[in-house]
């Protein structure tokens, strides 16, 4: 079936197109690009690490008789992991900024940098296999580290889903 436009309809359609086409383009523009996706992911990791540090503080300053208290060595072990993760995150942002400064807009380069961060972060979490004496404290720390793992895995996913 062939659609023909009546002459008096054309101006109205032209006006409609002038509004709709840019709006559709703008809607596409609302999807995160790889740079923004990396920035969001890095902020998420930082926020998750903050929760982890707060938890360590709570566990370490808990009353001595408490079943969630961790000792100094346990505290230092967890903080070392969280500190190293923070350093990796800072390094990740530095690489992301460098890519952006060089005008890189493609997903592949950001994905490569994100994969490097995720691999290093996962390796760090595995190397610091955590064992604390109190089971309740162990459970809380396990939850924190699982959250960090999920946030790390989310980085690559966020960049993959970013607009090209």
């Amino acid at each position: 079936m062939m659609i023909t436009l009546r002459p008096h309809r054309r101006p109205r359609q032209l006006i409609l197109a002038a509004i709709l086409v840019p709006l559709l383009l703008a809607a596409q523009g609302c999807k995160d690009d790889a740079y923004t996706a990396c920035a969001k992911a890095s902020a998420d990791i930082s926020s998750t690490v903050k929760t982890g540090i707060d938890t360590v503080q709570t566990l370490y300053t808990a009353p001595a008789a408490s079943d969630i208290r961790i000792d100094k060595a346990e505290r230092d072990g967890v903080l070392a992991i969280l500190g190293n993760l923070t350093d990796l995150n800072i390094q990740f942002r530095s690489q992301v900024r460098a890519l952006h400064a060089h005008g890189v807009t493609g997903k592949m380069e950001y994905l490569r940098v994100a994969d490097g961060f995720v691999s290093s972060g996962q390796a760090l979490l595995q190397s610091g296999a955590l064992h604390v004496k109190n089971q309740a404290a162990q459970d809380r720390l396990n939850t924190i580290f699982e959250t960090v793992k999920v946030a790390l895995n989310g980085i690559a996913l966020a960049v993959q889903n970013a607009k090209a």
């Binding site: 523009g29 540090i53 230092d76």
Partner: protein, 55 residues
């Protein structure tokens, strides 16, 4: 017809302005997020240092 085309062009111009502003805001959002993460990581490191100093 000429007036309609002019109207369409004016609307297109306005819409393109919106897109330009959207793109600028988007870029700013990424910079803001990175700056917020910088500040957060700095605070994290300070908190770790303070916790370690507790002995």
């Amino acid at each position: 017809m000429k007036e309609d085309v002019n109207t369409a062009l004016a609307l297109l111009n306005i819409a393109l302005g919106w897109i330009a502003r959207l793109k600028a805001n988007h870029a700013l959002a990424a910079e803001d997020l990175l700056a917020a993460a910088d500040a957060s990581d700095l605070a994290n490191k300070e908190q770790i240092k303070a916790l370690l100093a507790m002995g």
